[in-house]
Each structure stands twice: as C-alpha cells, then as structure tokens.
C-alpha cells in the first residue's frame, strides 16, 4: 500500500546519466536514452496515480473489513462461550475463556486479512502455488482485474 518506488527513480536516472557521461560524444544515443527514461518515468507516474486513485475509495471498504474481522472473532467467541455455559452449566467460566480466545482469533483474522500471517500451516504453500495473488490479502482495493 505504501510507496516503495520513489527510492528507485533517482537511482536509475543517475545510473543512466553516468553511463551516458562515459560516452559523451554520442549525442543521439543520449537524447534517445533521455527520451526513453522520460517515457518510463511518465508511465510509472501514471501507473502510480492510477494506483492511488484506486486506493482512495477502497479505504472505507478496508476499514470495515478489518473492523468486521476483529469484531466477528470476539462475537463468535462470546457466543460459543455462552452456548457452552448454557449447555454445561459452567457459568461464567466458558464465557470468560471463549471471549479471550475469540479476541485472539479476531487478532489472527486481522493479521490474516492484512496478509501479515499466512493461512494455517501448509495453506501458506498452497496459496503461494496458486499464482500467489490469492493468499491472505483478500480485497484490498478493486484488485488486479478492476
């Protein structure tokens, strides 16, 4: 989400310039190279702008995503605990334990939704095999197809 390209642009242009300085007589090649560089920079900037424009309206969607992932974990934990309490008559212990477990599950959900932690165990490998795009990060932005 956060830019990583700006660091690269000056580098490439510098390398290009120093390479050009080694053959100062070849004016045409330099001009062509500059033009090409300008073209790439332009394309990259356009791509970046499109990326940013795409990211903005998706911000609310991402916020609801993370909040709902977290809250869902806690709700399910609390619900499970309550049902177990009703069934076994262990009030309030199952509720306490399961709300805390649900909290852990909620944090796990958030981490998974953000793609920091991969799916359980071998699902990491599995997701990597399937073109890698479909792993933990589910819906940040309209995706590659939109």
């Amino acid at each position: 989400m956060i830019e990583r390209s700006p660091g690269r642009d000056p580098e490439t242009s510098e390398a290009d310039l120093s390479a050009a300085a080694r053959t100062p007589t070849d004016e045409a090649a330099l001009a062509a190279r500059l033009e090409r560089l300008g073209g790439t920079l332009e394309a990259r900037r356009a791509a970046e702008e499109a990326e940013n424009a795409k990211a903005r309206p998706a911000g609310f969607a991402q916020a609801t995503k993370i909040a709902s992932e977290f809250v869902a974990g806690v709700i399910v934990g609390g619900g499970l605990g309550w049902v177990i309490d009703r069934a076994l008559g262990t009030t309030p212990w199952a509720l306490i334990v399961f709300v805390l477990l649900g909290f852990a599950a909620g944090v796990l959900n958030v981490l998974r939704a953000e793609g920091v932690v991969a799916g359980a165990g071998t699902r990491l490998r599995e997701a990597g095999k399937n073109s890698g795009s479909a792993s933990g990060r589910s819906d940040e932005g309209p995706g590659p197809t939109a």
Binding site: I2, E3, R4, G7, F70, V74, G78, W82, D85, T91, P92, L95, I96, V99, L100, F103, V107, V110, L111, E114, V116
Partner: protein, 74 residues
Amino acid sequence: MDPQAAKYLGAGIATLGMAGAGIGLGTIFGNYLAGALRNPAAADGQFGRLIFGFAVTEALGIFSLLVALILLFA
C-alpha cells in the same frame, strides 16, 4: 433498587472501560500514521509492532467488555 436493573446499570457502566481502549487505540494508530508520514519507507516494517500494540491495548478493553457480558448473561 431492582437487582435486575442494577445488573443492567452495572453492565452499562462496565462498557465505559472500552472508552479507555478507544483512546489508547487512537494514540497508537495516530502515532503510527504520524511516523509513517515522516518515514514512509519504515512504515511497512513496523506493521507487526502496530498490531502488537493494538492487540495489547484492545485486550484491556476486552476485559471490560467481558465484565459487561458476565453481568448480562452469566
């Protein structure tokens, strides 16, 4: 006072503890954002710590939610 009413009042008051967690989360994410705007390159690397801080802070909020739930349902 009717004990049932006292229970509900207590549950309502207990959820006020979530406000503290809310303040804490605001501080954490606000500072993360401020840091990320100063040094965007370092932001990705600190995401794990952000979530760690979020989890610890929110855990304390969850305790107050738990007290409220126990008052209501247990």
